[in-house]
């Protein structure tokens, strides 16, 4: 979308403009061309298991040659074919682990057509699978089952459209698609493609998945020069059962139960609503709002649950370090804000925040929190470094929040600890954290927890060396850490200070590889066919999702295409939210950095501006197809894709210092320069399918919000 990521000179990079929310079309086009030209890595894809793949020089494996039941009459239709389906003898279950109380999990014996014998074989028993098999296999009782390989289903999906049709849909010419696909398949396994927030769209599941399918076609996972997927990476033990302390559990810990208010990670078919409807003989679909069998906690979905009192009434909302009104698409729409302010939606709202963000400004109680210079944290660095690494943040200045006791300041952790102690929850107080020596250690302050996590990091694997006396003196570490002396055992400090003085623990550069292979690779299978997805259902229509990556243009919950509901001739633009330099999506207190990009703009392409008679600097209205509008200053530039409105994140604040607040006898905030620019999220689309609810336009299998894409028009004011 934005021509910003490229250096000015040299031919090492090229900007390829793409229409927002059409990554699936581009990816599928590449897949089609690669398969059509036999440039997919058959040696890799035909490896039926990891051991074979490794023998062939790869460091990961896929289920490309595994068989999928494609037989509507079969009870296991859409599932991967298993040994039991064919009546094949399966290896005996391993001896149950006497230490585990749970029964041994039933293993999956997936089936491939073994190249050598031409017969079905359990994937672990084959040296090479047929990736293009389709046909009928005889099952035990003489009946047959129709099957095809995962690879073939991907191929069929990719071949469902001509390259020219994909090209038209994504706005990238066929020759450019071929050029990129050619390049992508010209470097063996030394190639990679991955995406992050840019995939957030109402069809973003495919937009994200297609990266990994492309990498799978060439066997690039976990190879040097290939792809180590972004999220993950190897870290040291910290908030886990660790070498010094067990920070994963405590005596009296209760298992987490129930459905998250965000409706994520919980299939509709498991809800009481579904069961009741079925019991009453009704069609259980649609659910009132979508449910997502996949995904973890999601603030953008939670907001819409709260404002609709569904699946349950929010009682106490606790917000920490978050500003979802700025970051969650459609959350800042007027009608959503109106509901959030109602007591019947949020009876009690407590926020713990260092700033008066937009979300915090709605709270009943505000607990002052510490900033990054005053607080603890062990943030993950994902796969940005190929070795084992845990980074670390610790208070380098005395917090500016109120001192609540000697050496104790108001902050998120101390608030939780104090409330937990007051209401008598287990796991807090003097007897809280289990040590490796079977003794319970106190949790009375933030440092009691974080320093123990750092001790785990320091003692994990090969124990970290002791810090040198000179380093302690040079960095003044003795004075800085003196107040926390009792949070660790005396023999832990020299190692913990070693880690703290370095801002974390990092394996030596380059040590993440053995030869060409990433040594912390996940042994799991990269699914070209996802059985989990293929057997999950759209909670509105009750229709199952495809098990393979596809090109699914943006559509509402009931399947209505966005382009049909809001045709392009009336709504010619899609939105693209991008991160400006020196702007956080939500909050940024650094006034020096704020000066760099004082405001944002409504950015459109030069050719399109001409077509609509718009000029750089015009004051314009951006109108969303499902209602709501905002106004900003137009920026016309060639470095933006056709059909796109680019809007940088982090602008359009109405709180966070833009508005003045009276705190005691002090007036704080009221700086208009903080409130410059526009917030696209404030007008992002809602899904008109849900007539009685306000629901942000989202992807139906995961709840990914429509941050990019949608349908808009621009009017000159």
């Amino acid at each position: 979308m934005n021509g910003g990521a490229l250096g000015p000179l040299g031919g090492r990079g090229k900007w390829v403009p793409i229409k927002p929310a059409t990554d699936g079309a581009f990816g599928l086009a590449m897949i089609r061309w690669i398969i059509e030209n036999n440039l997919h890595n058959i040696s890799y894809l035909s490896s039926p298991n990891l051991a074979v793949a490794k023998k062939r020089g790869f460091n990961s494996w896929t289920n490309a040659c595994h068989l999928v039941i494609d037989d509507p009459k079969h009870p296991n239709n859409r599932k991967l074919l298993r040994a039991e389906d064919l009546g094949l003898t399966t290896p005996p279950l391993p001896e149950p682990d006497p230490k585990q109380t749970a029964p041994a999990k039933k293993l999956d014996y997936f089936i491939t057509i073994d190249k050598a014998s031409g017969k079905p074989a359990i994937y672990t028993d084959s040296q090479e699978g047929d990736i293009t098999f389709q046909g009928e296999l005889t099952v035990a009782e003489g009946r047959t089952v129709k099957v095809k390989t995962a690879f073939l289903i991907v191929k069929e999906t990719a071949f469902s459209q001509e390259l020219s049709a994909f090209a038209k849909d994504c706005g990238i010419p066929v020759e450019t698609i071929i050029e990129i696909a050619q390049e992508f398949t010209s470097h063996g396994t030394k190639v990679g493609v991955d995406g992050m927030g840019n995939t957030a769209a109402a069809n973003g599941m495919d937009g994200a998945w297609v990266h990994y399918v492309l990498c799978a076609l060439v066997g690039a996972f976990y190879k040097k020069g290939g792809l180590i997927p972004g999220i993950g990476g190897a870290s040291y033990k910290s908030f886990t059962p660790g070498p010094r302390y067990d920070l994963a559990t405590y005596p009296g810990a209760q298992p987490v139960q129930g459905a998250r208010i965000s409706r994520t990670g919980f299939a509709f078919e498991k809800t009481s609503e579904y069961k009741k409807k079925v019991a009453a003989g009704q069609n259980p679909y649609p659910s009132k709002l979508p449910w997502f069998a996949f995904g973890s906690a999601s603030d953008n979905q939670a907001i819409f649950s709260i404002v609709n009192n569904y699946p349950y009434q929010a009682k106490i909302l606790i917000n920490w370090m978050a500003n979802p009104l700025l970051s969650a698409p459609a959350a800042a729409r007027k009608e959503v804000l109106g509901e959030l302010k109602k007591v019947e939606r949020v009876p009690l709202f407590i926020t713990i925040d260092a700033f008066m963000g937009e979300m915090s400004a709605l709270a009943d109680y505000i607990i002052p929190d510490t900033t990054q210079f005053e607080s603890w944290g062990l943030p993950g660095i994902w796969s940005n470094f190929a070795g084992r690494a845990t980074s670390l943040r610790w208070p380098v200045v005395k917090p500016m929040t109120p001192q609540i006791a000697e050496g104790r300041h108001a902050c998120y952790e101390n608030y939780l600890i104090d409330v937990a102690k007051k209401v008598g929850l287990p796991g807090f107080g003097d007897q809280a954290i289990p040590g490796a020596d079977n003794t319970l250690y106190p949790l009375n302050n933030a440092e009691d927890l974080y320093l123990k996590a750092i001790a785990n990091v320091a003692f994990d694997e090969t124990v970290a060396p002791d810090i040198l006396k000179e380093e302690i003196e040079l960095q003044g570490l003795a004075e800085l850490t003196n107040a926390w002396k009792n949070s660790l055992k005396p023999d832990e400090w020299a190692k913990v200070l070693y880690v703290m003085s370095r801002g974390g623990r990092f394996e030596k550069h380059g040590s993440g590889f053995i030869g060409d292979n990433y040594k912390y690779s996940n042994p799991g299978c990269f699914n070209l066919y996802s059985e989990a997805l293929a057997t999950a259902k759209n909670a509105y229509t009750g229709k199952p999702f495809s098990g393979v990556v596809g090109w699914n243009p943006e559509a509402f919950a009931d399947g209505t295409l966005l382009s049909k509901a809001f045709p392009e001739d009336k709504w010619p633009f899609k939105g693209a939210s991008y991160k400006a330099k020196f702007r956080s999506a939500t909050m940024l207190a650094n006034s020096v950095l704020r000066e760099f990009n004082k405001t944002n703009y409504v950015e459109i392409n030069t050719e399109e501006a001409k077509r609509f008679g718009l000029t750089d600097g015009d004051k314009v209205k951006v109108i969303s197809a499902t209602g709501a509008e905002t106004s900003g200053i137009l920026k016309v530039r060639p470095g933006i894709a056709l059909g796109t409105i680019g809007v940088a994140f982090g602008y359009g604040h109405w709180e966070y210092g833009a508005r003045a607040h009276q705190v005691g006898d002090k007036k704080l905030g009221g700086d208009a320069t903080i409130g410059t620019g526009i917030l696209l999220n404030a007008i992002c689309l809602i899904d008109p399918t849900f007539k009685d609810s306000i629901y942000g336009f989202s992807e139906m299998s995961t709840g990914i919000p429509s941050r990019n894409g949608g349908a808009y028009r621009i009017e000159k004011i």
Binding site: G7, P8, L9, W15, K581, V592, P638
Partner: protein, 200 residues
């Protein structure tokens, strides 16, 4: 300038600049600059015709001209030369008349809102005298900025200039800048510099 003296200058390799603005931040911090003003900054502009578009990043600062218009117009000689021929402003002498600000073709000067006198980049001369690099050079993550003595043929800057083709900004004015850019011709060709003319 006499031949035997040093001549401080800077070389910026635009092939390496990624537009991270670390130089801008380091300069603001090092020199404790007032809010809204910069001695060193980076401008960006789209370049090319759709869809073959890239984004130019051009770090800017006082060009330390050998024939400096600012020096020539200063009525009180507040703008003068220091070590290495660096153009500096003596804020004790400066009367804030703004002649230099109008004269500078590089938009490098401003009136310090608190002091009321002209201010601009001095190549972090105090750091240089103390044996350090200018803040922008030492912080550059891409190693795109180099500082040194242009009169010393063995200096990094002289070596870079002898090995690469380079340009200066607005050479037609004859100001003889001591700030050289490698790849400036490529960066400027076809770019929309409406945004470059003025300080951000």
């Amino acid at each position: 300038m006499p031949e035997n003296k040093s001549h401080y200058g800077m070389v910026i390799d635009l092939r390496l600049c990624v537009g991270c603005h670390a130089c801008t931040v380091a300069c603001k911090m090092e020199n404790n600059l007032p809010e809204g003003f910069f001695r060193s900054w980076v401008v960006e502009a789209d370049k090319g015709e759709y869809p073959t578009v890239t984004r130019v990043k051009l770090p800017r600062l006082c060009n330390q001209c050998e024939s400096a218009p600012c020096e020539q117009v200063c009525p009180v000689k507040a703008t003068h030369r220091d070590e290495g021929g660096v153009v500096v402003v003596d804020s004790k002498k400066c009367i804030g008349c703004r002649y230099c600000i109008s004269a500078c073709p590089y938009d490098a000067r401003y009136i310090h809102p608190k002091k009321g006198t002209a201010d601009k980049c001095n190549l972090c001369l105090e750091r240089v005298k103390g044996g350090l690099m200018p803040a922008c050079v030492s912080t550059c993550i891409a190693h795109a900025r180099y500082f040194g003595d242009l009169n010393d043929p063995m200096s990094e800057v002289s070596q870079l200039l002898s090995e690469n083709s380079y340009q200066v900004l607005r050479s037609e004015l004859g100001t003889k800048p001591s700030v050289f850019y490698i790849g400036l011709d490529g960066a400027l060709a076809g770019a929309d510099y409406a945004n470059l003319a003025k300080r951000r």
